[in-house]
Structure formats: C-alpha cells, structure tokens
Point group: C2
Chain length 395, copies 2
C-alpha cells in the first residue's frame, strides 16, 4: 500500500510541538515533514531554524503545499477558527483540543461532512490511550454498554497523593503545580470540567450521541477535606475522579464526579498522572486500558499516530453516529448512592430517595443517601462550598 507524503503546518510550538518536530525530522518514521509553524511570540528563542516560524496564520492556512494542519494551541475559540479555516481549505486536521471539540462538535461534524477532509483528535482524550480509535474501529458494533474511567491526569496525581500520603488538597495541588502536573489555574481539571469534555467526545464515538458539555453533570475534587479523607481511609477506599457513561436501550447517562472505589478495583492501581479507561459490552467483559494521560510525550505519541494515520488516508467514519437510533437521548434520571458531607445549614434531606447511613461528630457530619442524578444536578445546595459529595462506584 502506498503512503501519502504530508507537508505539515503546526500551530503552537510548546513541548508537544517541539517533541513532534524532533521525531518527525530526526527519525523519518512517518512520511511527514514540517513546513511551517505558526507561533504567537516571534521573538521567543526557538530550538530550530527561525525560517520555520511565522506569526501569520494565513501562511499555513493558505499554503497549497501544506496538506495537513496540526493544531496545538490552548485557546479553544482561536483553535476552532483555525481548524474551520483549515478544513474549508481542504486540509486534513489533527488536534488535541478537547474543549474546542466538545463545545463545537456539531459545527465540526458539518465541516467534515461538507469538505470531506479527515479530522483526527486521538490526543484530546486520555493522551496516550488510543480510546477514540478503539471505539471507532474495534467497538464498532452496538453491544457496548459503558465507558468509564480516570480521564484526567492532574486530579489523579492529586488524589493519589492525598490518599496514599494522607496529604491535604491545597498542599498537593501546590506540589502538582510545581511539578507541572497541574495548571496555574487548575479549575478545568479540579472541577471535573476537562474530563467532562473528554466524556462528550467519548459519548460521540462510543454511542453516536452529540451532546453539549452543559447537559452533563460534573463535580470536582477541590472540596475534599480531611474529614472526607478519613472516611475513605477508614473504609479502605481510594477516591478517583471518575467520568462514566452508560447506555441502556435508547437512554444514555453520563457524569463526572469524585468516586469511592475499592482498593481491589482495577482503577485503584491507576495512580498519579496515569489515566485508565474501562470498556464494558454485552458480550465481552471488562477491558481496561492504562497509559499516561498528560504530558508532552504521551500527547505527542497520540498526535504522531494521527499523522501516521493520515498518510494512509484514515478518517473517522463516525460509524455509531451514522447509524444512530434517532430516539437515543441523554437522560439524568438514574439513581445513585452518594456520600454527602454537610453542616447545620443543610436542610435538603428530602431530595434523597433514601438515607442509608448518617454520622455526626464534633469533627463533622455526613450521610450516605440515594438520589436521582437530575435532582442533584438541579439542586442549589450543591453550590454551597461547605457541602461535599462523593459517589460510590455502582459497578
């Protein structure tokens, strides 16, 4: 079989872009060369010849010789403009921008459809774990029932340290930031928004469902305190920020929340910056894929595989979406068992279908109750920073 030779235009030249350039140019492993790199700051020192660089995006987007654009910038809206323009100009696109993809999925699908160019984004979900490709190519029948797991490396690093070293959230967050595992503004990670974006992308490739991030419940890890940790340690639980989606008939449930899991749960061994994805289907049993979920090399390897796939004319066929049952919808009416740490201001016990356990001491109060996800999603009390919730693993 013959390979296409690619001429790449790259947007962004941070650690991922730099590593990618090195692998492409130094190993010759993939039939692709970098032609031009668009950057924001022209005068920053660069490790390669300055003739590669430009600050004018049109030099890439309107160069007929460049047949693929690799988009590696942070700003989701700017990225969407670049990706749209690239596709309109008939260029294949590789991106790692989960926020951009989750928020613009319908427009991106329309562009793919209209301009018939490949748009690949394996690096956007769990970096080095080839989850999108596996959902597209291997789990391509409708027997898949659930995808869940640890989709965010920063929070997994923080939670691992908190549980294994009984350390406080602020201390560990600081350490994670110093080590480069967490952003200066960690909101997207620690509030469970980043894994929710990834869940939106998974919902599309697993079940063909197009949904908006705001339709999906997310809760973060920033409120976990010593009292919650003690509860986890006493019962020998790990806490993981779990994103999960389940399909039953034509109903999909999805959410992202901190979750108690048993120490013998396979995901309990997924520690620090690693991610883990569990796939369940009607006929097979659990499959678990583990790999680094963040960092320049894991992200770079996924981008490289996408570039390599472009040389073989690969594109996502969006198989689930093209055969999707028109009745398929996202619902939030499932009942979940949730730990709630509260104080005297809390008066919303009636939101719960059942209270299973209740505990009160000078150190704090919690109860464990069953609640419908939509009740939780629409509740006001959940916005109170003095309340914390942690799910129990339903599996």
């Amino acid at each position: 079989m013959t390979k296409n030779r690619l001429k790449l235009g790259i947007f962004g030249f941070g650690v991922v872009g730099t590593g990618l350039y090195q692998v492409l140019e130094e190993t010759g492993s993939v039939a692709a060369n970098v032609k031009k790199i668009c950057i924001k700051h022209a005068d920053k020192p660069r490790p390669i010849d300055k003739s590669y660089f430009t600050t004018d995006q049109n030099e890439l987007l309107h160069d007929p010789e460049i047949n693929a654009i690799v988009e590696l910038i942070n700003d989701a809206e700017a990225a969407f403009e670049i990706v749209s323009e690239a596709m309109k100009n008939g260029k294949a696109v590789v991106s790692a921008n989960k926020k951009m993809i989750a928020e613009h999925l319908p427009e991106l699908l329309a562009l793919e459809e209209k301009y018939q160019v490949p748009f690949l984004y394996e690096a956007s979900v769990c970096a080095s774990i080839p989850i999108i490709r596996n959902l597209e190519e291997y789990y391509d029948n409708d027997l898949l029932t659930s995808v869940s797991g640890i989709f965010n490396g920063s929070t997994n690093f923080i939670l691992t340290k908190m549980i294994d070293e009984n350390a406080s959230y602020p201390t560990v967050l600081k350490e994670a930031q110093q080590l480069g595992f967490a952003e200066t503004d960690p909101t997207l990670d620690v509030e469970g928004i980043d894994p929710k974006y990834k869940l939106c992308i998974i919902l599309f490739h697993a079940f063909g469902l197009v949904t908006k991030p705001e339709q999906i419940f997310n809760f973060g890890i920033s409120r976990i305190n010593e009292f919650d940790l003690t509860f986890a340690l006493q019962r020998n639980y790990a806490i993981k920020l779990i994103a999960r989606c389940n399909k039953q008939d034509d109903e999909i449930t999805g959410f992202c929340a901190p979750t108690f899991i048993k120490k013998n749960d396979p995901l309990a061994h997924v520690k620090f910056e690693y991610n883990g994805v569990v796939l369940e289907s009607a006929f097979s049993e659990h499959q678990l894929m583990i790999g680094k979920g963040a960092g320049s090399k894991p992200t770079g390897s996924a981008i490289l595989s996408d570039i390599s796939a472009l040389t073989y004319d690969y594109k996502y066929e969006n198989k689930k979406y093209s055969h999707v049952d028109k009745n398929l919808k996202l619902v939030n009416h499932g009942e979940y068992t949730v730990y709630v740490r509260y104080n005297d201001d809390f008066h919303n016990f009636n939101d719960f279908n059942e209270i299973i356990e209740q505990f009160s001491s000078p150190q704090g109060k919690y109860f464990i109750g069953k609640i419908n996800l939509d009740t939780l999603f629409n509740s006001q009390w959940i916005k109170d920073a003095k309340v914390n919730i942690i799910f129990f693993n339903q599996v």
Copy 2:
C-alpha cells in the same frame, strides 16, 4: 457508509460458537447471520434447530451464499485445511487458532495475497484484548520498540494462586483444570508454547517479522517448586509467565519464560485468568491493556468484533510486513539475568557470563547469573527436570 450483510458458516460449536450464535441471532447487533454449522459429532444434543448442522465441511466451503467462515476448532492442521479451502473459494475467514496461524503464517499470507480475502484472527491473541487491531491500525509507524506481557490465562491463574496463596503447582493445576481454566493436557499452556504462538503473531503485526515458533525460546512454569516460591515470596516478587519481544535497529529478540516481577510492576496487578499487554515505543511511554485472556465470552467478543469488521470490508493491511526492512531478523544474542535452581548434577556455570549471587542450603541451591539467550536456548542442562530457571524483568 453501507454494511455488507454476511452469511456465516461456522466450524465448531462449543461454548464460543454457541455464545456467538446467540448474540448474532438474538441481538441483531451485527449484520451477520449463521447459515450452517459444521460439527464432528452429529448425534450430540444441540441447543438450536438441527437443520443448522452438518458434518460435511463442503456444505459450508462450497455454498456460494456463505461469504464468511468462522473457524473455531481445536485441531490446527484440520483448521489450516478449512481456512485454506475457504480462502480459495473467496470466503472471508475469522479464526481464533493461534497454533495454526503461528505455524502456517507464510502459507496463510500467500493465500491472502492470492485470493484477496480478509483473514482476521483477533481472538487468537489475548482473547478480549484488541492487540492485533491496535498494532495494525494505531501502532502503525515504526517507533514501536517492545511488546510484552501475560499472554496466557491458564498459567496466570496458576501462578496467581501459587504466589498469593503459597500453594503448590500440582495442587493449583488440578484446581485450574476442575474450574475449566486449564486443559486436561496442559502442556501447551504450562510449557509456554501457547504464549509463544501468540508472540509469533505479535511479531508479525508489531514488526512485520515472519518467524517459526521453533526459532523462539520458551520455558514453562511446571518446574516451579516450593524452594522457588520461597525465593519469590522473600523478595516480594510475583512470578508471571512473560512473553516479550524487543526491536533494536534491524534486530528482534523474542522469548517466553517465567519472570520475577516486582509487586509494583503494572503487570503484577494482572491476576488470575486476565491477560495484560505492555506496549512501548520511542515517543510514547508504556501503554497497558488488560482483559480476560481466555473463556467463551472474551473469545466470543473478539470474534464478534472481527465479524463486525468484515461487514465494513476491513482487512489487515499487514502494514509493517509490507514495509519491512529486508535486513530485519530474529536474534538471540542478548544477555539476560536468570535465577537458576540446580542440584549437584549441574556443572555448567561456564555457560554464564557472570555469576551474581549463589546460595546453598539443605533445602536447595540457586544462583543468579547472566547468560546469552542463545547459550541458554542451545544448552542441554535446561532439559534436566531438576533444574529450574526464572528470568528477572529487564524493564
């Protein structure tokens, strides 16, 4: 995109075949129906209508309406005849027969080339783990450096019980046989031959190397005794039957042997009948895939995915093989660190480049030494049932 509708002819109707029939006919999830099933014993009671069954293989192989053959029989030679005949008749083939594929790879490649029909066999390696598909489609550039792991569920079940419960090999083997996790004649599993067949298939899809099973060193777990177990337990090692292949430039090394691994090695958490595959490449970091490696459902799910792929005209492109460096070769000259339990009949210390540790007591004797794989492979003393060897993990 349009799907082909498949009419299947199935050879063999054990638990896998039965489960497959149920999923195909009862869920309608995959655009395939079973037309005829070829069995050995006509008078065995069957759970479905007897009109499906025949003992005449030509009723399947020469039925022009049957466009895909699913081969699920044990006998590798008979399977090869069936698969060859099916391909000659222009039928796509799905098989789970690792022995047949490993032993007849060159002939099977020639048949695929000549008759241009898809031949898929995901279920032949690590059952539910989609390793072949990932090697073909995702790790399709030449940056992959190593594939290793636990490729055999029976022996992993036995070794898990031995280490976790400090139980003896014969006791656990018996239990595994009673539970259906080990064959009545367990030789292929416990001597490391079954995982070696799988390694041959992986060598082909990972690196494009066609090799014969007899060119690859294998050693089993049947000689592990209480003395060896004590050594492992004292040093807090697990023992796993690890198959491994590495590529460096145009040289490939591959072998299968019991191996001490540390308890924090990700493969140490892969227990009982689970399999685990670790992929390493130059640019990405370790990827780990875990799933059940044996049993009717895991095997059935892989076969089902292959059938589903056929409805989309999928075939292996054998990308590595078609671009393989003609100098690529299997070599056995690497040096490995090995534990050797021996007795007074052993006089072959000179085979070792270096002796690192030596121990002697009334209970037994061992040494740890460094040896070239080809020296080990060609040694006579390794055939002595009173000697046992266990590798140390080099990673």
